[in-house]
Structures are given as structure tokens and as C-alpha cells.
Amino acid sequence: MAKRELNSFRLVLDFSLRMLLLLSLLSLGTEWANAGPTKVGNGDDGGDLESGQRISTGILIETQREAAQLLRGLQVQGIEGLGTLIPETEKADLYLAEQDPSPQAKTNSETQAELKEIAQAIGASEPYVYARTFAEPHAPTRFFPKALLLDRKNLIALHVHEALHRALPAEIREDEKSVSRITLAITAAGATRDRVQETVSKELASAREARQEAERMQRQATANMPIVPYNANFAAASSLPPGPELKSPSLFAYSLKSYVLPDPDKSLAPLRSMHSLRSFLYPFGRGSEALGLGIEFSYLQAQDEAYLGPVGLSGRMKLLTWRGFDVDGFGALRLHSVGSGELKDSPMGRDILEVGVSLKRDEKWYMVENKLSVHGGSKAEQKIGAVQYTHDYGSIVEAGIAAALRLPMVEDGGLELGGSTQVLLAQNTRVKGGAFDYETGRLRVVTAGPEIAWNQGALRFSANARFVIDSTKGASLDQLGDLMGHGVGQGSIGAGLSFKF
């Protein structure tokens, strides 16, 4: 049952992501279609389309009708991508230029290759510019004097070819190779509707794949930008590594946090500091779709003793890049009850599952990241004397912002000045044991702090601080019960050293 629910969830998630990707592609496609200079069928600047005489009789008109008849015979109107080919063929205004186009075009090797493609497609013996059109619906076709030397069969193919530039979907109408192959499929001896349909489908699929690959390359290029590592202070708050900088995404890090404790009689955990050793590796997947998995060990220094603290397991994966922002999904499981006594027998001894989404933009001079996550509720057992207490924590919603200014003072690194702030909203926590029964109500804790870091190649050294700047009266980080995620007391001062590979 759980597996089925998981599969359903994955299907819904997969569908949502695909829809998001599709919408972004559509948006990009629209932008591309409307942006930049208008291309012309044969790939030049279209200057020679600005003159000529409209024609209404003659072999060009006759072959125009014959081309339309050929297309009707093949019933191309029912083929995906060719729905407007017949009207584009038979209703196009035809013009005859007074002279052939400038010979400068022949010096362009790309144009020469295209002319050969066209010549082969229409069955002409010489690669000349016979006709031109704008690659947009309802544009006229302009013929050049050389076209009058072609036979009827070649002219029919030429009409079809030019009409294809206007009728095909935008993603392939300007691809001379694709248009030529479809022209051949339509005008070849023994052409059938099935063959035409097969050719068009193949060309469309190929074009879409190419578009997706271009998208993927663009995303990867964004991810591989030579950026300085992310803001470690923000990660310290979330205990998660940065977005996948897939050039060298894996991370090995040590950090130390010294807690600023509240009054002792309001403290749930008498901890002075936490040492943390973290290894975050990207062993699965490839490119920008790699999945990172991390393990973190902590060592706690209490007032008069030290012991092994929580163990963290975490994962992170980039979901998509949207308008320059990396959207990452992440999850973390912090296991506090791995051993008996010590931390387990305290209000902090609970296991926590966190899931969230991060939106991040990395540029050469700055970095900004927004994070939204939810920490699940769980219970901690504590025995004081002969009385057993149960601390039933509610869930926590966390919204955070981190930003940093980068000063690339050396070739492979530089100084980074930044800070972060988090708003934490914790649902009610109930403490019950013996005759004692207490509920905290909803708690609000707002933290903020600066960070300064020096990056040198794969190494990064940082110093940071984080303090409670606002909270529900009397609340501290202790009462969130998330030692590895948010720490304790009124905040912390910390330092870290990391190595990326």
C-alpha cells in the first residue's frame, strides 16, 4: 500500500515537473520565435525579396496548381505539421525577380551547402537560388530567372519546398535539411502518404530532441559557471550542502559552533559547542541531474562532559533551472536517538525528517538563495528522577534567505561577505509526565547573522554567527528541539573549513 502511494506520489511529482519544464520550454520557444532577426528560407538577409513583379499566369502559376493537386492526392492535410501546407502552396502570391540574387551569397559555404540541399530536393542539376520566401505563414514566394530553366517536375517540387518553409512548425521550418528531406519525401516518385507522414514525424522528433538537448546544455552551462562556493552560514542553519555545483559538487567539511546559551534554568540542553564532520558526495546520476547524498557526524561538548551527538543523513538534487534560478529539492534525516542515555535521554533526543525546496541564483559577484522547508514533528522521551516525560514536538516551517557579495580578489577565489536570516514557525509542543502537562503553543523564532568567507581553489574557510533577533516571549532555539538543524540557546558563533572535489 505504502509502495503504491509512493509510486502515485512519484507519478504526480514527475508529471508536475514535466509540466513545469514544458511550460518553461513553451515560454522559451515563444521568446525565440519572436526574437532576433527574421531568417529567410535560404538563409540570407532577404534583401533580394524587396523587388520583383507579381505574376498571375505562366508556368509558375500552372505548376503551383499542380503542386497543390499533388499534395491533395497525398492527403497531407491530415499529417501532423502539414495541416496548412496545401493553402500555403496554392494561395501564395508569386513574384518574379528581374535578376538572379547577388553572387556574394555563393561565397558563404553554409549557403552553398543549403543550395545543394535544395537542388537535390527539387531535382535540379545546379545549386542556384531559384526561389525565396519568408519562413512565416502567408508570405509570398519570389522566383528568380534561373527557375524558369527548370522543368515542371522541378518547379512543382520548388513550390512545395517553399511552402514547407511557411507551413511546418516553427521548430523545423528554418532547418534547410529537414525541409529538403520532407520535400523529397513528397515529390519523389512513388511517394505515399505513409512515407510522408513517417518522414515528417521523424524530422519533428529529431528537432524536438535537439531542442531539449540545447536546453539541457544551457542548464548545465549555468550550473558549471565558475562560481565561488555558496554561503556556508546558510548551510550551517540547514545542515545541508549547497546547490549542485556540478563541476566539483562533492564536499568534505569540518565546522565548529559555539552556542550562546540562555539562562541555565531555561535551557533544555546544557551544550556549549558542537563539532561536525560532513561528507557530501554525488555518486549517482550524471551532469546536472546527479543526486547528492551526505552523512554528518557530530560531537557535543556539554558543561562537564563530551559525547557523540546526532547523526545526519541528507540528500539533494537539482530539479530544474528556471530563468537562471536553480531549483533544488532536498531532504535530511537527523537521528538523535542512536544511543541510550546522554542526548537520547533529553528533550533534544528526537529524530527529525526535513524536506524542502531551495531557489538559488549564483553569479560572479553575488549569490542569493531562498529556502522553504518543513521539519516533521516527533517525540522525545526524558526521564528525570523517577518521572518519565514525553516531549511531543509539532512540525516546524522554515523560510530562509541567504545572500552574499563576492569579491574575486585572486584568480581562483576571493572574499565573500554575506549573511542569512530564517523565520521558524513551530507548531505546539506538549510536555507530559506524571501530573505535569504543559503545552507551549505556537512558537516563532527569527534568527539572523553575518558570514565572512575566504575561497581559494577548492578550499574555503568561513566564520559566521547566528542569533535569535526576535521570538515568541521566552522562546529560544532549545524549544525547537533540533540540535543539528538549528542548534540551541540564543544562537551560535562558528567557523568552518571545507574542501570541494
Binding site: D263, P264, D265, K266, S267, L268, P270, Q303, S346, I384, G385, A386, V387, Y389, T429, V431, G433, G434, A435, F436, D437, Y438, T440, G441, L443, T472, K473, G474, A475, D478, Q479
Partner: protein, 223 residues
């Protein structure tokens, strides 16, 4: 004749069965049923002292001995006293029993030690300044206490149970506290032992002499 024999046999059999199961009581309707004593160790024993700042300080619970003075008080609570299935008899006293560490402590306790109702809920992580470490846990330093309802140690010459006649035993009659707080207000916040003069009491880690609560229930009849 046969019928008379049958009736006689039935009566003898009935009496025999009843007497075989136990004493045959017809009882006085005004007479209270017999009571049995219930004595249970107090599970919530917590020392609050001005110098002990942390609620989980190991010196503040499960100790063999507690030293009380002007800046150190002992919070006591039998945590399950609110349970409605306790068949506690209202007409008989409820007592708290402790042991002084020495004869000298016994003398001081008889004159200085008082058991006072606590007026606010607390947990075992309580300190001199806070009833609990959570938000809003601060309380009047030394615990919030109803000073007017404090009771002293029962006089040695008062008729008490065997429980209170042991050597160096100290008994408090807390029946009024039970009636006013637990029964009527449904609040079991326990009692604070207060002494302005230093006195040493045996704690919850002392086998056999830990603080105990004592009450009576109706005796279970054996038929």
C-alpha cells in the same frame, strides 16, 4: 416428616456454606467498613536550591540525603494521586512521612520544618527560579507556595499509625491539602518542604526511608 427433614437439611447446608466462606456479618448500618493502609513512595522528589541553576542537575533528585535551609527546598508529589481509581477514604487522614537523618535533625524538623502546598504545576526539571525550562516557566524564586496552608510535623504524642512511630520518622497530616487541592480543585501540584534552619532529611535514594505518602482505603473483603 420427610418435608421437615428436607427444610432442616437445606438450612444447615446454607449456614455451612456461608460460614465456610468467612465470618458471617450482618453489621451495623452506621459502622464504617474496615480500612487498610496504603503506603507508597513519593516518586516526584526534587530539590530546588538557589545555587543549583540547571533543572537536570544530578544533585537535585534521587539523592540519599537532602539538606534543606532558607535557600533550599524540597518539592514532593505523588504523581498518580489524581488517579480516580484510588479508593482513598475521606474520613481518615492522609499523611506524608519522611525521616530525619539524625536525632538533631529530628529536633530541628519538629520545630522548623513545614509542608506547604505548591500553587503552580512544576516538573522534575524545576529550579529555584523556574517551575520548568519551557516558555513561561519562571516562578517566584523558591517556588510558588500557599503559605497560609502550611502544616507542621505532627506532635510526637499524637496518636498516629505505626508508620509514624518509627525512629526519626516525621509525619505531616496533609488531609486538608488533599481535600482543598486534589479533591476539590483537581490539581495535584504537591507540597514543598520548607525550613529556615538547616535540616537534613533522608531522600528517595534511601532504601526503606524514602519519603512516602500514606492513606487508607476500604479493606478488600474475603468471602
Amino acid at each position: 416428616m420427610i418435608r421437615h427433614h428436607a427444610i432442616l437439611s437445606f438450612c444447615l447446608l446454607t449456614c455451612g456454606l456461608l460460614s465456610g466462606c468467612g465470618p458471617l456479618r450482618f453489621g451495623d448500618p452506621g459502622e464504617s467498613p474496615p480500612a487498610q493502609e496504603i503506603v507508597l513512595a513519593v516518586d516526584g522528589v526534587k530539590l530546588i536550591e538557589r545555587d543549583i541553576l540547571r533543572g537536570d542537575d544530578l544533585r537535585s533528585f534521587q539523592q540519599r540525603r537532602y539538606s534543606l535551609h532558607a535557600n533550599a527546598r524540597l518539592l514532593l508529589r505523588y504523581e498518580m494521586l489524581m488517579e480516580e481509581n484510588l479508593g482513598l477514604r475521606q474520613d481518615l487522614p492522609v499523611r506524608l512521612r519522611l525521616f530525619a537523618e539524625s536525632a538533631e535533625d529530628l529536633q530541628i524538623a519538629r520545630s522548623k520544618l513545614r509542608a506547604c502546598p505548591i500553587t503552580r504545576n512544576w516538573m522534575m526539571a524545576a529550579t529555584w527560579n523556574a517551575a520548568h525550562p519551557w516558555r513561561g516557566g519562571e516562578w517566584t524564586p523558591g517556588a510558588e507556595i500557599d503559605w497560609e496552608e502550611c502544616v507542621s510535623v505532627e506532635a510526637a504524642d499524637q496518636p498516629t499509625t505505626q508508620l509514624c512511630s518509627e525512629t526519626q520518622a516525621l509525619c505531616f497530616n496533609i488531609s486538608r491539602w488533599y481535600r482543598l487541592w486534589v479533591r476539590e480543585r483537581k490539581e495535584n501540584f504537591g507540597l514543598a518542604l520548607v525550613s529556615e534552619e538547616r535540616v537534613n532529611l533522608l531522600g528517595d535514594a534511601s532504601p526503606g526511608k524514602a519519603p512516602r505518602i500514606h492513606w487508607h482505603e476500604n479493606a478488600a473483603r474475603v468471602w
